[in-house]
């Protein structure tokens, strides 16, 4: 569109009392087709002044001589208040060449002077045209100047304020005022090319449409279309602007009649350069937007873009500032929280925690100290252990640890016990001494943490005690204890095993149990019974009995009680067996059973004879055989005697062996004892034609005299029994350092060497029938041995076959 300036209608006030002239002038001026004029007519000076004041005409044509005064008066009124007036006024006069008048007119600031006689269409149009040109030019200059002022104000505003909203508001305000528009808005596009009005200046009574969301389907389609290229939309009248129905409809809502829209382009965003629109509207009347309006808007849109950029910078700066500030605040809060937490942790720790300076003064100590010593933590601050009067030993240990720490720089650890306040016993602590360094890497403070290990200690003590008890039990129990691993290797053997079997520990540990300690004959059985493996729980035998071999090669029978050893995960790791050596017990049982068997035989035999003999006699079958009957009576009688002796001997031996007999020890003379024995034996010996020879020494002996006589009689009677007639039996007594030795020696057939020991066993005569024929019970020597042993002595036999035997026994001197 071309510049609208020339098309603007110029209002000309014609003041002339001649109506004819006025019409002539108007006709002349209207003949100039390049301009369009509006006319105001006044016939008098007064009327002219009124129009001037009320209508502010652009140009005044005034007649010099008016009926109510000079036209110059109008000029004076127009130039009022201006030092050098420059009036858009042309004075018309009927006087030709009046120099003075011309001078006066010029002085009052009139633009031109024209003699009525010279007025023609051409001259008038030229003269008025020149004034109009001048007027328009000066107006344009004025307007440009004002525009510059507006822009300068906005620019200043932008430099003063960073808030986009504020700047936007200022811009719309200035534009609307400057353009005298009804409404000026800033419309901002969203990313989807819909938009919102973010700033508005509106002239009452038009309603505000600030913040109204507006969408034009035209925009999203072409991303703003020509606006993107910076094109301006100018519509003096929307109804002639060839707009679409919906666009019109939208504009009518405001309402709008004329609009001028310039784009606001984002200088840094090449992809989406169109930030928004700067729009100015006339709401009711069409409006001709001139070039200056457009330029103003364009310039302000540039300013707005600058402001935009600036605001964004400012906002991002503000955001980053806020962000930074938030982060600092967060960190500070977190630090504070951490500090609170760690303080709470340290304060509420069951451990005693303290910090010392290099002079060992307390810088900090937590409240645990109050529970331990009953002294509040504050009392410690600035004091040393020594000043706090802690136990000397704990001070020395602590100082020692700190000294080492300072010298070596290595954290120290030690354990200490500490008496609790109020006699609550003793607490045990594990103390860690930890260096704390300053910025120079020097140890500046020392941290000490006392961890309460009392319960650990107590359970450790209990465990040690339990272990000690077990160990003591294992060491002292009079039972064999053997631990084997899964490979039958000996892992443990208790002292009793070693002692009773004659081994050293080193000869046992790690050895294969079966091959080293079990007789060959039993190894296979054991493997079979246990299923080959010791760790086979299915075939594991809790109770077992087998022989083991002592170091000297003897076999001892052991009755075992076996237990499988398992780890916590139930894995079998070996066995522990407790065994009782039952060899002697078995022997005793065997002997007992043999004794009963033999004794019953020995008792049955005479009983059979007695019963048979008496039965025969009672039956009367022997009535006619008095000799046989007498023989039967003799047999019954003699076997009854034998039975009585046997029963007496069994009871005697039983009493002796069960220690139910207490010896009646007293001092006696051996000579007297021997005399008594010989007297007892004399008759029997004489009957067998045996001579008893005794040295009969006189020795004081502390013994049970009757038992000693019984023993010697027994031995002598045996000697007599087994001696040939006319031979001698010797009874000898010899006193040596510790004891008195008794010997009974015969010259009989002797005792086989294999029987020298067994003859002292019960019913173990060399020849039982001999013994019975001699009236013996088979228990005599067993009784002798028992009596001698009760006196603390021993008995033994020596013999040379067919030359004789010697049975000796000792009786110790009084102990």
């Amino acid at each position: 569109m071309t510049s609208p300036t020339l098309d603007v209608a110029i209002t000309i006030l014609i003041v002339d009392d001649s109506e004819e002239d006025r019409v002539t002038y108007m006709r002349y001026l209207q003949s100039d087709l390049s301009r369009s004029y509006n006319f105001l007519e006044a016939a008098t000076l007064e009327e002219g002044l009124i129009f001037w004041r009320s209508h502010q005409p652009d140009i005044v044509l005034v007649d010099y001589s008016l009926p109510d005064g000079e036209g110059l008066e109008l000029l004076e009124a127009m130039g009022e208040g201006v030092l050098v007036p420059k009036l858009e006024a042309i004075v018309l006069t009927g006087h030709r060449g009046n120099e003075q008048l011309i001078l006066q007119t010029m002085r009052l600031g009139a633009a031109d002077y024209l003699s009525k006689s010279e007025v023609t269409a051409l001259s008038l149009c030229n003269r008025v045209g020149r004034v109009v040109d001048h007027l328009l030019l000066s107006r344009k200059l004025q307007r440009l100047q004002n525009q510059e002022i507006v822009i300068a104000k906005i620019a200043l505003h932008i430099r003063q304020y960073f808030d986009l909203e504020e700047i936007s508001n200022a811009i719309v305000q200035e534009i609307r005022a400057f353009l005298k528009a009804d409404r000026t808005v800033i419309y901002r596009f969203n990313s989807d090319m819909s938009g919102v009005i973010i700033a508005e200046s509106v002239f009452p009574p038009w309603e505000t449409c600030i913040h109204r969301q507006l969408s034009d389907e035209y925009f999203p389609e072409n991303m703003g279309g020509e606006y993107r290229e910076g094109r301006v939309f100018i519509a003096p009248d929307i109804y002639t602007a060839n707009l679409s129905e919906c666009h019109l409809h939208m504009l009518e809502q405001f309402p709008t009649r004329a609009s001028l829209i310039v784009p606001i382009l984002h200088p840094n965003n090449l992809d989406h350069p169109l930030w928004g629109l700067l729009c100015t509207y006339q709401c009711f009347e069409p409006h001709f937007w001139d070039e200056l309006d457009i330029r103003l808007l364009q310039q302000l849109s540039v300013q707005l873009a600058i402001a935009l950029q600036q605001a964004e910078l400012y906002r991002s700066l503000q955001i980053s500032n806020t962000d930074l500030e938030n982060r600092v605040n967060e960190r500070t809060a977190e630090l504070f929280k951490r500090q609170q937490e760690s303080t709470a942790l340290v304060e509420n720790s069951p451990n005693l925690i303290l910090r010392l300076d290099r002079q060992l003064r307390h810088l900090y100590i937590n409240s645990a100290i109050e529970k331990i010593l009953g002294i509040p933590p504050a009392a410690f601050i600035g004091k040393t252990f020594r000043e706090m009067g802690l136990p000397e030993r704990s001070i020395l240990v602590a100082e020692d640890a700190i000294r080492t720490l300072v010298t070596t720089g290595i954290s120290q650890q030690y354990e200490i016990e500490f008496p609790l306040s109020d006699n609550r016993g003793t607490a045990h602590y594990q103390v860690s001494v930890i260096p704390e360094y300053d910025a120079d890497g020097e140890i500046s403070t020392i941290l000490m943490v006392f961890a309460d290990i009392t319960s650990n200690k107590l359970s450790e003590f209990a465990l040690q005690e339990a272990n000690r008890r077990w160990q003591s039990l294992l060491d002292n129990v009079r039972l064999i204890v053997i631990g084997l691993d899964n490979e039958w290797k000996v892992e443990y053997a208790n002292p009793f095993f070693l002692e009773s079997m004659g081994y050293e520990l080193a000869e046992v540990i790690g050895k294969d149990w079966l091959s080293c300690f079990v007789p060959q004959s039993e190894q296979e059985n054991i493997r079979r019974d246990f299923g080959g493996f010791l760790n086979n729980p299915d075939k594991f035998l809790k109770y077992y009995q087998n022989a083991i071999v002592t170091k000297s090669g003897q076999e001892r029978v052991v009755s075992w009680n076996n237990t499988i050893l398992r780890k916590q995960n139930n894995e079998v790791i070996g066995t522990m067996s407790i065994g009782e050596d039952i060899t002697d017990k078995l022997k005793v049982e065997r002997l007992k059973s043999e004794f009963i068997s033999i004794a019953s035989h020995e008792l049955r035999t005479p009983l059979s004879s007695i019963r048979g003999a008496l039965g025969l006699l009672a039956s009367g079958v022997l009535a006619n055989q008095p000799e046989v009957a007498q023989n039967m009576l003799n047999i019954a009688s003699s076997d009854t005697e034998r039975l009585v002796r046997l029963v007496n001997d069994i009871l005697d031996l039983e009493r002796l062996e069960s220690n139910n007999v207490t010896l009646n020890r007293q001092w006696s003379d051996t000579a007297e004892i021997c005399q008594q024995v010989i007297e007892t034996m004399e008759a029997i010996a004489a009957k067998s034609q045996i001579e008893i020879i005794s040295n009969v020494p006189s020795q004081q002996i502390f013994a049970d005299r009757d038992r000693l006589v019984q023993t010697l009689v027994n031995l002598l009677s045996n000697a007599v029994k087994f001696s040939m007639p006319h031979s001698q039996v010797h009874l000898e007594v010899e006193a040596i350092t510790d004891e008195i030795i008794f010997r009974v020696r015969d010259h009989g057939r002797g005792i086989p060497e294999s029987n020298l020991e067994s003859i002292f066993e019960r019913f173990n005569q060399v020849d039982a029938s001999d013994s019975r024929q001699m009236g013996g019970t088979g228990l005599g020597l067993a009784i002798c041995r028992s009596i001698v042993q009760q006196h603390g002595g021993k008995i033994w036999a020596e013999s040379v076959l067919n030359q004789g035997s010697t049975v000796s026994f000792t009786i110790p001197h009084r102990i």
């Binding site: 049955r604 039956s619 020849d767």
Partner: protein
């Protein structure tokens, strides 16, 4: 004709009583030996109709004597009865396996022993 019996027992008194019992009630002729050896020696000269044998004897016990008898064709068919105090069940089973005619327990019933022997021997 009167039966003859060899009685081998180391208990002299008992042997005499048994001999009197058998002779008095049945009129059998009883020869007594006081040891296994003596019995075997006597068997070289006499042929008894049966042998009464004590088991528990010194030197040579009744079992050995019996085995000796079995090893000798002259004596192996002579019926043998054990006269013993060993009367436990295990002993009787062991004796029965040897092939003896029977066992008579000590102490015996003096009035019945002859009948017991006759019964064992089907006399």
């Amino acid at each position: 004709m009167n039966k003859s019996i060899l009685l081998i027992d180391d208990e002299v008194n008992l042997a005499q009583v048994v001999a009197v019992c058998l002779e008095s009630f049945k009129g059998w002729k009883v020869t007594v030996a006081n040891s296994g050896k003596e019995g075997l020696r006597l068997l070289e000269t006499i042929k008894p109709d049966a042998i009464l044998l004590d088991v528990m004897m010194p030197e040579m016990d009744g079992i050995s004597v019996y085995q000796n008898l079995q090893n000798n064709s002259e004596t192996q068919n002579i019926p043998v009865i054990f006269l013993t105090a060993k009367v436990q069940v295990s002993d009787r089973e062991r004796f029965a396996q040897l092939g003896i005619v029977g066992t008579i327990a000590k102490p015996f019933e003096p009035l019945k022993i002859a009948d017991q022997i006759a019964e064992l021997l089907d006399w």
